[in-house]
Each structure stands twice: as C-alpha cells, then as structure tokens.
C-alpha cells in the first residue's frame, strides 16, 4: 500500500513538471530598439527560404551594426527571402522574393545643426500583382519591378509598374523568362533576362511613356548584372555553368542605349563564369573565382585582379557593391550561419569586416 502511494506521488510530481516548461522564445524578446540613423548603410539579409527570417541591418559611418532594423522600426518581420534594396528620392524599397511583398520606407533628412539625423517611417506594403519580385528601377515617377511569377512557368514573367505616389500597381508588362536586374537610362528601362529556372540571353527595353516593350537586345547567356554610364549599358553575362551539362562562355557587353548596338564585347575564357558588375568613374569591377577584377570602360580587353577576397576568408560571395570608393563583399558562409560583410578600399586593402545576419546580399548607401 505504501508503495502504491509512492507511485502516485511520482505521477503527480511529473504532472506538475508540465507547468514550468513552456519557453516562448520569439525573436521579439531580443529585438533591439531602433537606433538613431544618420549617414551609413543598409545591409539586406536574405534569410532562409521558407523561414520568414529576412532582416535589415543598419551600419553607421563606422560600420557599427544595428541588427533587425526593420523589425525595430515597424514591429513586424520583413518577410520571406529578401532579394534587393533600392533608394529613390526619399523612399527605400525592400523587395521580398518568396513572400512576394515590397516594403516601402519613407525617410526625411532633418538637418539640424551638425547632425544629419534621418527619420524613417513605414509607408506602404505592395503585395497586389506582385509574384516573386526581384529588382526595381525608377523612371518617370514610376517604379518598375521585375517578377518571375511562377518560377517553373517560363510564360508568366512580368514587370510590374508602380505609381510612386500611391504605391499602387498601374499595370504589368509581360516579358521573356527570368527578368532579373533592371535599370533606367535615357527615359528607358532595361531589363536583363538572366533566366528563372531556365537561362535567358536578352535585354528587354521598355518605353516609360507607353510602358510597352519596344526593343530586345541579344547578349550572351545568363546576363546577371548591368550598369550604365554615359549612355552606355554594360552587361555581364555569366554563361551557363558546367553543371548544367551545356556550359557556355561568359561575356561582357557594351551597348549603345539609343541604337541598342553592341559596341564592344569581351569573351571570357572557357570555364570562367564572372559575376556581379559595378562601375566607378571610368572603370568597371566584377568578380571571378575569388577575386575582384578591374577594367576600364573604354577598353575592357584586359582586366586586373585587385582584390583576392577568397584568401581573406570569404567562403561564399553573395553580394557585391561599390559605394564611396569602397567595395563591399557579402559572404553567406554555409547559408545556415551568420554572414559577414567585407569592406575593401579600391586599392585592394581590406578595411574592415562586420558580422551580419543570415545570407547578406545587398548593401545600400543611405547618403
């Protein structure tokens, strides 16, 4: 009998255990208050697909990070899979790929005395007529957002046209598969068709008065990056990688934005697949096999490696930016740990590294 009671005691004790266990470990608990923003940078941390853990990191002028800036500001999560960041006048646009939303922040510089304090407010969420958005460009008081639609469907890709005052989608322009990077020049919008599940090899030209496709420029396979300077469009085509079973050569193209003619072209060697492209004064910068290369816009037959970032410990280059004579390289590491931002001077010296959040892919200069 005595033993029976002991047993019952064990059971009751176990029951009581259950009341002291629940551990609601939300990130809300550790989200810091929004920092004071002056000059500096935003880093978009893509997060893991399906995990809703994209975030925005603010870096002040000394690259001191404040993480989860968007959550601190709005109280909400950014969404699923951050794709790109852009700035236009007094707005910041955050393009969220997998959750198909575009978050718009408004900012105003109130220059009082010596400080350049910037106030941010959440202005709009664009979700209607957006599906798998990638990048945004601005022209004619309109925003142009490339969208893959259903990535497995090559026939439903489009560019959404946004009214920058109301943030409503005005229209959608059907385009070829895989519209990726987009930029405006000379009243026109250029869309690089990198490809979604397939592989693209064209640039579409959109007239911003009629919002229709008025031209198509043939380039190499997988146009993954574009920049413009002095009415010239520079397009980096990465080529198809070896694992596709149909490897193609990479190329760099210089295109006249009025005539759409290819004025110069560089073919890379077999097996070389450069990525990313930035311009500064009369130079172009791209990455290839763990190095940043520099070439000149007037003649890019030769290129010089200026940064050997692989030896500095960049495991998996995930983003590339050139701001204020500094090169920013984001490292996604193994994709399931905190990323890192590497900041270089243009002479190739490593200036600083900063720990970011998951999969940092874009850097935006707030200045």
């Amino acid at each position: 009998m005595n033993r029976n009671f002991k047993l019952l005691g064990v059971a009751l004790l176990s029951l009581s255990l259950q009341f002291c266990t629940s551990d609601d470990n939300d990130r809300d608990d550790i989200t810091p208050p929004a920092p004071e923003v002056e000059k500096g940078f935003f880093v978009l941390n893509e997060g893991n697909i399906g995990a809703n853990n994209a975030s925005l990191t603010y870096l002040d002028e000394n690259f001191e990070p404040s993480h989860f800036f968007y959550k601190s500001l709005t109280g909400n999560d950014l969404g699923d899979t951050g794709q790109s960041l852009a700035k236009n006048d007094d707005h910041i646009y955050i393009i969220m790929n997998h959750s198909s939303n575009v978050e718009v922040l408004h900012f105003d510089d109130d220059a009082e005395g010596d400080t350049q304090h910037i106030n941010f407010t959440h202005q709009a969420s664009i979700t209607e007529n957006i599906l798998n958005p990638r990048y945004i460009a601005f022209e004619n008081n309109k925003g142009y957002i490339t969208n893959w639609g259903d990535p497995t469907n090559p026939d439903d890709d489009f560019v959404a046209v946004i009214d920058l005052n109301t943030h409503a989608v005005l229209s959608t322009i059907s385009v070829a598969e895989g519209p990726e990077t987009i930029l405006s020049e000379d009243g026109k919008i250029f869309v690089a068709h990198q490809g979604g599940y397939g592989y693209g090899n064209t640039i579409s030209v959109i007239d911003t008065d009629t919002d229709t496709v008025v031209g198509t420029i043939a380039v190499g396979d997988v146009p993954s990056a574009m920049v413009e300077e002095n009415d010239k469009l520079y397009v980096l085509c990465s080529g198809k990688a070896a694992w596709t079973g149909d490897e193609t050569m990479a190329g760099l193209y210089k295109i006249n934005v009025d005539t759409y003619e290819v004025e110069a072209q560089k073919d890379f060697a077999e097996g070389e697949h450069p990525r990313f492209l930035e311009e500064e004064s009369d130079k172009l910068y791209y990455t290839l096999n763990g190095s940043v290369y520099e070439t000149i816009q007037t003649d890019f037959t030769t290129a010089t490696p200026i940064i050997d970032f692989a030896t500095d410990g960049v495991m998996s280059i995930y983003g590339f930016a050139l701001e204020e004579d500094q090169i920013f390289i984001t490292d996604a590491k193994d994709y399931i740990s905190l990323g890192e931002l590497f900041i270089y001077n243009l002479d190739g010296s490593l200036k600083q590294t900063v720990e970011t959040q998951l999969l940092p892919n874009s850097v935006l200069d707030l200045d």
């Binding site: 497995t152 490809g195 599940y197 990525r275 905190l338």
Partner: protein, 609 residues
C-alpha cells in the same frame, strides 16, 4: 534560382484500445524485451510499441514516436514532411525497416515519417544504436521496425476503428483476419484525411494549403506447409497526396504525391539444429512534386528495388549459435533530376552467439558489403550481456555502421558527386537494466563518432553539391522507465517515460548540430478503472539551434505539449474515446516558421467483431 534549388532539395529530401480482456494487458504498452537466442537481437535494447499504444496515438509514425520515444522530430507543420534525429544524428541516419526490409527512400536516404501510417502495422519497434550489421545502410542513430504479424489459429477477427476530429480530420481503419492452425491471412485498410487548416495559436494565422489524404493497404499471410516449411507473404501499398502548407501567405501553393508498393515473400525452413529464411522482395518508391498546383510543371522520381535476402542459423550446441546471411539488392531509378541509374549492392554477414554461462551472453557479428561504386566498409557489432541479479543486468555494445550516398547525392544531373564515400560511424554504448516486478528502468550511455558526413554544401560561387564534409561526435544518456501497478485490485496505473540528453557536435567547430535538442522528455500515464480508461501523453523538447554557428538569434524555443484521452467501454466489443490534443494550447513548432496546431479534439470508436 539557387534558393529554389535548395528548396527543391529540401522537399525531395523528404485511438483507442482493442476491447481488452483485462485492463492490465492493455496497460502493458511499452516494455523492454530480451529476445531468445535465435533472434538477431539479444544483447541490444528494444522499445516495443504495440497495438494499444498505436491506437491511442495519431495515425502518423511521427506523432507515435515523438510522444513515446527518445527520437526527436522535425515536422514541417502537422502532417507535412517530417524527419527524425535519433541520438543526435541526421535524418538519413535512422533506418526504417518494414518486416525486415529497409524502406528508406533511395532518392533522399531518409524516411518521411508522415508517410508511414502506423495503423497499417501490428507493432512498431524502436532500436537505438548502430545496427548496420543487421539492418544495412542508414542504421547509425538507430532503427525503426514496422512489423506485421501473421495470425494463426484465431478464426475470424475484425476490427473497425473510426475517428473524427478538428480541422475535418478523419480516419477509417479496418482490419480483417482469418486463420486456422495452418494458414492465416490479415488484411488492413486505412484511410486518413484532413483539411488541416488550423489556426496558429496566438497569431491566429491560418495554415493554408496544408490538406492531405492517404490510403494504406496492408497484407500479411502465411501458411505452414508442414513442420519444416512455412511460407509468408507481406504486402503494402501507400498512396498519398499532400499539399504542403505555405510558409507565407503569398507563396505559391504546391502539392506532393507519394506512391509506394512493397511485396515480400519469405520461405522459412526449420530442421533440428538448422533454420533458415529466404526472402524475395520488390519495392517501388515514387513521388511527383508540383511546385504550383495550378501549373503542369512537376518533378518526379521512381526507384524500384529488387531484393534477395537469405539468413541461416545453425545451433552448434545448446548454447552456441552460428548465423550467416546473404543480401543482394538491385536499385533501378529514374527521375527528373537524374537519368536512369542502376546500382547493385551485395552483402555477406556472419555471426556467432554464445551463452557462456546462464547469466552471460556475448555475440559477434561481421558484415562485408560489395558494390560497384565505392569502397564498402567492413562492419561489425560486438555485444555482451551480463545478468548480475534478477534486478540488474548490464549490456555492452560496440559497432561500426555506415550510410551509403543516395541517388540524389550520386546521380543528380550535373551536380551529383560520383566520388562520394559512405558515411561511417563507430559507436559504443553501455546499458544498465533494472527490473523489479512490473517496474523497469533502462539507463544507457553512448558515444558515437561519425566520419565523412554527407552534406550538400555551397561552393564559393554558390553552387550546391554533395560532399563528404566534417566529422561529428554524438554522445548522451537515455533513460527509459516503465511502471505498471494495480491498486486495490480494481485500479490499474501504467507510467512510461523516456528521457534523452544529447550532445551532437561538429568535431571541428565544437558546435551542436542544427535541430538537435540537448533534452527531450516524454511520459505517459494511463489509469483504468472498470470500463473507464484515462490517459495523458506528454512531450517536452529543449531548445534547438537552426544555424551551424549556434547563433542566439536563430533558435527554436523549447516546447511542451500534452494530450489527454478518455475511453469508455460501451460494450465488450465497443469502445468510445475522446482526446484533447495539445490540451494546454501550447504555441510551438519543431521547424522554424512551421507552427503546430493549438488545442484540438478527436473522437473515436473502436469495434471488434
């Protein structure tokens, strides 16, 4: 693009009681068992989950084992893709065997535990520790056996089990069997479906696109031709459609079909000191995945497996047994992501068991595999058992185990890596068994070193390929407790508990592997009095990291959940039951951004005719 590739990879990698004669029998749901010398397991441990506990758990193997074993589960929302971590190992390092045949997916190497309906089986056995010598590839953390029993001498028996619950979840399970002294056949049909549109606790967000339905047909038949020959036939068909719930409201709705068939013929032969079993099996394993339900595009794969397995036992003397085995497997696969590929694996096994004294047994088993793609390691297991007293028994085991690369790893178009080596593991464990009357306690400590872990990792340019990466060491403690007690002759109480303390770390970085909690506790308590039976199942899982650097920002909090059930026996053959699942309405998830339902209810009827 690379993100979608990762997503695709991830996706690919993808009650009541029988009318009891007397309550005490029904209460004996979990027990530790020592099999007789003839069986392959002797010096290791087993946790057996039999019919009554199967009926009281939800129909998926995930729910059954999550609440009743030390195995940790990652479940992508209720009913969605679920994978185990057994003793801190990866999803592919748990072997699932159906009537002795491995059914881990050839494409992903793992079993999606939500595609196994427990209603199709008579018992489920959990065997912790490396078992590749007997169970073949993948048995590094442990093995799960799904067993069907062939009835003999039971005449007609029929069982109907109907259940209905929240979110329009229903289950219909019918099992009929007929047997006489020489021949028996048992056929089971199980259908489960749910709208699965639960609201996430606290946030109130609805689980969109999570509906599923599945059908399982099982068969077990046997005939004893004479005293020496017995023929057995086992078959199973599983057909399922699931829509995977959306991780965010604007994601494209998708759907996933599984279709598996298994058929196994077994010829058993006994003659004096000799016994043998010759098995021939054909398995098909097929999936089709539509990333967008509204579009034709899909990816798919199909692997057929042909298997021949021969095992023989020869009793050298009254207390010495020699065993030998031969396995031949042919896999033939084709799919969207790999071209037609075939592989052959052969294995020879040899074992010796000796009951040296009445209280001391040891066994040695060796296995050598052969195949055309990579060097197969030589595997072994050495086990011993010493019974010090009626109350205390000590067991010791050491083994070398392995896991072969999957079809995806080897043959994925352009990305597969034909130079992969198998993962190998060296394990050692010590178990202390205490038993007294109807109480038993098993305390086990183990250490496992896993080399050449197979992983898909990104290259510097962001291309993901499978590679043999780092080494991992796992170690920990397991405790399994079972108590059964009758009080004042009319009240019956049964208490079972499992606890696991698990360290699983990358030997280079010393960081805990993602999705491995350090603590997991389960317990269940049932109480029977006359026609009433009440039970409570409880789980408590510790915090897990989901980044490899164990960042404090990226953890999933610990959670607890409890299920409460009440049964009433209306008639001798008819029982009605009610369950409140997640009765404390806990907000929890086991995979990031995949919340599980809050409190919900189920009602069931169990009829035996």
């Amino acid at each position: 693009m690379k993100n979608y590739l990762i997503l695709l990879l991830c996706l690919c990698f993808y009650s009541t009681t029988f009318a009891q004669q007397k309550p005490i029998e029904q209460l004996e749901v979990v027990y530790l068992e020592n099999n007789p010398l003839r069986d392959s397991v002797y010096t290791s441990n087993q946790l057996i989950l039999n019919d009554s506990i199967l009926k009281r758990s939800q129909a998926s193997l995930t729910q059954l084992l999550n609440f009743n074993s030390t195995i940790y589960f990652k479940e992508n929302g209720l009913g969605m893709v679920a994978s185990p971590s057994f003793r801190g190992t990866t999803a592919q390092q748990t072997a699932v065997l159906w009537n002795g045949i491995s059914i881990n997916s050839q494409t992903t190497g793992q079993t999606d535990f939500n595609t196994v309906t427990t209603r199709g089986y008579d018992k489920v056995i959990v065997k912790p520790g490396g078992g590749s010598v007997v169970d073949g590839s993948n048995s590094i953390g442990g093995s799960i056996y799904l067993e069907n029993e062939i009835p003999y001498n039971h005449n007609f028996e029929n069982n109907v089990f109907i259940q209905y619950g929240s979110f329009n979840t229903y289950g219909l399970h019918v099992k009929s069997s007929y047997s006489n002294k020489k021949t028996g056949i048992s056929i089971g049909l199980s259908k489960n479906a749910s709208d699965n549109d639960y609201k996430y606790p606290k946030t109130g967000v609805k689980n969109k696109n999570g509906h599923y339905k599945n059908t399982n047909i099982s068969l077990a038949a046997g005939t004893k031709l004479n005293k020496q020959h017995e023929l057995q036939w086992f078959a199973n068909i599983y057909d399922s459609r699931r829509n995977f719930s959306l991780p965010n409201p604007y994601a494209l709705p998708n759907k996933y079909y599984d279709f598996n068939t298994r058929s196994l013929l077994n010829w058993k032969y006994y003659k004096q000191r000799f016994s043998s079993s010759a098995k021939v099996a054909v398995l098909t394993d097929r999936y089709i995945y539509y990333p967008n339900v509204n579009y034709w595009y899909h990816s798919k794969a199909k692997v057929e497996t042909y298997l021949f397995k021969y095992d023989a036992d020869y009793r050298l003397s009254k207390n010495m047994l020699l065993t030998g085995g031969l396995n031949l497997t042919r896999n033939q696969g084709s799919g969207t992501n790999f071209s037609q590929s075939e592989r052959h694996i052969g294995a020879v096994a040899l074992g010796f068991k000796h009951q040296a004294t009445p209280s001391f047994i040891y066994e040695v088993m060796l296995r050598q595999e052969v195949n055309e793609h990579f060097d197969s390691p030589f595997l072994y297991r050495i086990g011993l058992q010493k019974e010090f007293s009626e109350v205390y028994t000590l067991k010791f085991n050491t083994s070398k185990n392995y896991r072969i690369p999957t079809y995806n790893d080897l043959y994925w178009n352009g990305l597969g890596n034909p130079d992969l080596k198998p993962e190998t593991s060296y394990g050692v464990e010590i178990s202390n068994l205490f038993s007294y009357k109807n109480y038993s306690l098993n305390l086990t400590a183990y250490y496992n070193k896993i080399e050449d872990l197979l992983r898909w990792t990104p290259s510097a340019s962001g291309i993901w390929r499978p590679e043999n990466t780092n080494n991992v060491q796992t170690y920990g403690l397991e405790a399994i407790l079972s108590l059964t007690q009758s009080l004042w002759d009319k009240h019956f109480v049964n208490f079972n508990a499992t606890y696991a303390y698990t360290i699983s770390e990358n030997t280079e970085t010393k960081k805990q592997l993602i999705y491995v909690p350090k603590h997991k506790l389960t317990w269940s308590l049932s109480y029977a009095y006359k026609k009433i039976n009440a039970y409570y199942q409880y789980i408590n899982t510790g915090e897990v990291f989901h980044t490899t650097d164990n960042s404090k920002y990226y953890t999933i909090g610990s959670y607890m959940a409890g299920n409460l059930g009440l049964e009433y026996k209306l008639k001798q053959q008819l029982t009605i039951g009610l369950q409140a699942l997640n009765v404390w309405n806990e907000k929890y998830e086991s995979v990031l951004n995949r919340p599980m339902p809050g409190r919900n209810y189920t009602i069931y009827l169990n009829l035996n005719i």
